[in-house]
């Protein structure tokens, strides 16, 4: 109030407070006396909300279109959904037609069209606000449908391809530098020694796996996207790296704010 009811000053006060800046490190002594952490002795780790998760993935991949304003957009939905709604909006049109402008698929989630009868599938299982209600307190659930969405969606996988491309562009060909850059982009830290050995072990094995696929009739792999120079790209190595990026982007550390 003293500051003329300025919300900006209030926010500054909150985020600079000692409470807000507490580490989220688990502390056995705190758990013993305050298991629900009501007194906020440690920072309460939170799962990213539906839109935050989508936007963070888009942002990390370097794909996010930060255009402000304008009408709501229709990002890509699974083709089975489009097929099911051809005649359903009462005017002979589809309830959801993927936007023609590819940039519309990468807009911030706040611009995603909200249709009560047809929630946007990519964020639907992450407890988004219920548009049927004037006021909504969000739940935080953890379900298999969320895991399926993040791990299997072609759209999310495409962002992992773009992120892989971004990492290679920024870090060059050196494997160590690539892993460091990936972790810096996603988690603002370098991987630990244990993590690095797990990641390197994976790359080696996955490369062999991808290579073995090359002997089947139809060989196609998902390689990093957005690269300027693809001449020197080893497709086996590149595909293995995309898989690595996708797994790291799916990890708990990305889905939660610690």
């Amino acid at each position: 109030m003293k500051n003329g009811w300025s919300p900006k000053k209030l926010q500054r006060e909150i985020v600079l407070s000692a409470v807000y800046r507490q580490s989220s490190e688990e502390r056995a002594d705190v758990v013993a006396v305050d298991p629900a952490n009501k007194l906020l002795a440690v920072y309460p780790r939170k799962r990213l909300e539906a839109e935050e998760l989508r936007d963070s993935l888009l942002y990390a991949s370097g794909e996010l279109d930060e255009t402000i304003g304008g009408p709501a957009v229709f990002p890509k939905v699974p083709s089975s959904l489009v097929a099911g709604n051809v005649l359903n909006n009462g005017q002979g049109g589809a309830l959801w037609e993927d936007a023609k402008d590819p940039n519309d698929h990468k807009r911030r989630s706040i611009y995603t069209f909200v249709r009560r009868s047809l929630p946007y599938p990519l964020t639907a299982s992450f407890d988004p606000a219920d548009p049927s209600k004037p006021h909504h307190k969000r739940d935080v659930s953890t379900t298999a449908l969320q895991a399926l969405t993040l791990f299997n969606s072609d759209v999310v996988f495409g962002w992992s391809q773009a992120l892989a491309g971004r990492v290679i562009s920024e870090a060059g060909a050196n494997e160590n530098a690539q892993l460091d850059t990936l972790y810096e982009i996603l988690f603002s830290r370098k991987p630990t020694r244990e993590e690095k050995s797990a990641l390197k072990g994976f790359l080696k094995e996955q490369e062999k796996l991808v290579e073995s696929k090359a002997w089947t009739d139809k060989f196609e792999v998902a390689v990093p996207t957005g690269l300027k120079d693809t001449k020197n790209l080893d497709p086996f190595k590149a595909a293995a790296f995309v898989d690595l990026v996708h797994a790291v982007a799916n990890s708990n550390e990305f889905a939660y704010r610690f």
Partner: protein, 481 residues
């Protein structure tokens, strides 16, 4: 299918999927081993209030509102009076403000009636196959609801309210009983035809209950759930090893936070997703069903095929422990003109097609459930948002009637071959208002058969204790065995 592993895991290590109960609580949460599973896994199976008669419900929503006056509710007086006006005495107390107005009483020239079974239940010539199962059915011929437009009354049929925001019946059941099969959702929605069900997901959403209890729509086709298939360019082996890496990274991350159950729950959710990827397509895969079974459901026929497929899938889901299966009637494959029971004109053409689409599959479902010994532990409910008037609209159609119509149930815990209540001589309204069965009463009765007291099935929302039947509802005791 691996049904046991997850439960065992929960018991042994008190981890599980879901963090609903823990929302807001952070690292660590001192819980006793006994309640651990329930606290952490919102879908852990829970005991009913009293022993249940049934394990699963198949909710057959006849979308668009069939005229039960043309299916089950035989009115000789209506046949006699056809072509005449409706006497005022029959319209007392009701507001007939729907668009069609009150026209002359109408009877189709093609309608004929016969009694079937020992119970002598009447069926019209539109349902020759279902009629053979007369003695399995429990008719409620005094159903009432609030009639408005379809979308609003469908919402009431499923959630008990005319406005969006309340949980559907299936969501309440998932919340109260949890999941009997950890690899599949406890509440599944099936439909046939080219478009999604009218008014969409508000009819199977969880309202103010946590989202984990909402229905999962299984879409027609081989891959019933979104994102069930891995990205196109990845091989199964690639996917497997990627999951292993993810697992390893998550475990490393959780090492510093040994008391954080939600992180472990998320780790677990990827294992479950991995199993669901196998369990869900398997549950709807009809290739292992015999030709005789497929024929029983009419899957070999163009008109009955898609609805029959939904119902055979429903039976497979019942076998796999799914608690609530909401089947919304759509249209035969390739049919674009008649897509629901909404016969405002040319009732003969509309109901001729729609009745044909559902008659054989539903009869097949009842026979199949019976022969597999599942009918005693399953409840099949024929239900609709409202029905249709005895007077005609546009000459050959019928308008909406929420004042008195027929719904039926079949299965465990009920008096089979029994009729409860009735409509007046012309089929306008419920004859004895004391016998009227509203949506809330139907919901209370379904919950009762599942071993749940609708008054004790509660959830605190905005400081108010809410229940499935809002502030209404009575169990229809007269139909219970």
């Amino acid at each position: 299918m691996d049904n046991k592993s997850r439960r065992d895991f929960l018991k042994n290590s008190s981890l599980g999927v879901g963090g609903v109960a823990l929302a807001g609580a952070i690292p660590g949460f001192n819980i006793s081993a006994a309640s651990a599973a329930e606290l952490i896994d919102p879908l852990a199976p829970k005991d009913p209030h009293f022993p249940a008669k049934i394990k699963s419900v198949i909710w057959l929503h006849q979308n668009g509102a069939p005229s039960t006056l043309d299916l089950y509710d035989y009115k000789p007086e209506l046949v006699k009076q056809a072509g005449k006006g409706v006497p005022d005495s029959f319209l007392k107390g009701i507001k007939t403000s729907t668009q069609g107005g009150v026209n002359e009483l109408f009877v189709s020239n093609y309608r004929s009636w016969k009694q079937y079974g020992e119970s002598g239940a009447w069926f019209s010539n539109l349902l020759p196959n279902l009629a053979q199962h007369a003695d399995k059915l429990t008719f409620i011929k005094s159903s009432v609801t609030i009639g408005a437009t379809h979308d609003i009354s469908i919402l009431k049929l499923n959630t008990g309210d005319l406005n969006p925001g309340r949980p559907s019946l299936g969501a309440w059941i998932s919340y109260a009983l949890g999941s009997a099969n950890p690899d599949l959702p406890p509440y599944v929605v099936l439909y046939n035809g080219a478009s999604e069900p009218r008014a969409g997901s508000v009819n199977w959403n969880s309202g103010f209950l946590p989202a984990v209890y909402q229905g999962t729509a299984f879409r027609p086709g081989d891959s019933p759930i979104y994102y069930l298939d891995r990205p196109e360019l990845r091989s199964a082996l690639q996917q497997r090893s990627s999951l292993d890496l993810l697992n390893r990274l998550n475990k490393l991350n959780a090492e510093n936070r040994p008391l954080d159950t939600e992180l472990k729950a998320r780790l677990r959710s990827y294992d479950l997703a991995d199993r669901m990827q196998v369990a869900a397509p398997e549950a709807v895969d009809l290739s292992k069903e015999t030709d005789a079974t497929k024929k029983l459901y009419g899957i070999d026929d163009a008109i009955t095929g898609s609805y029959g497929t939904s119902l055979l899938r429903a039976r497979r889901l019942v076998e796999r422990g799914v608690r609530f299966i909401q089947v919304v009637s759509g249209a035969p494959d390739g049919e674009t003109e008649i897509t629901s029971w909404d016969a405002h004109d040319d009732l003969d053409k509309n109901h001729g097609l729609m009745a044909k689409m559902v008659d054989k599959p539903i009869a097949g479902l009842l026979e199949d459930l019976k022969s597999r010994g599942l009918l005693e532990s399953t409840l099949v409910v024929w239900t609709s948002e409202f029905s249709r008037t005895p007077w005609g609209e546009s000459g050959t159609g019928r308008d909406h009637n929420p004042w008195g119509y027929t719904q039926w149930m079949a299965g465990g815990g009920l008096k089979a071959g029994f009729t409860y209540g009735g409509t007046d001589e012309l089929g306008v309204q419920v004859a004895d208002k004391d016998t009227a069965v509203d949506t809330y009463d139907l919901h209370a009765t379904v919950l009762h058969l599942l071993g749940l007291n609708h008054l004790k099935t509660t959830f605190i929302n905005n400081g108010r204790s809410e229940r499935p039947t809002v502030v209404f509802g009575k169990v229809v005791k007269d139909i219970l065995a």
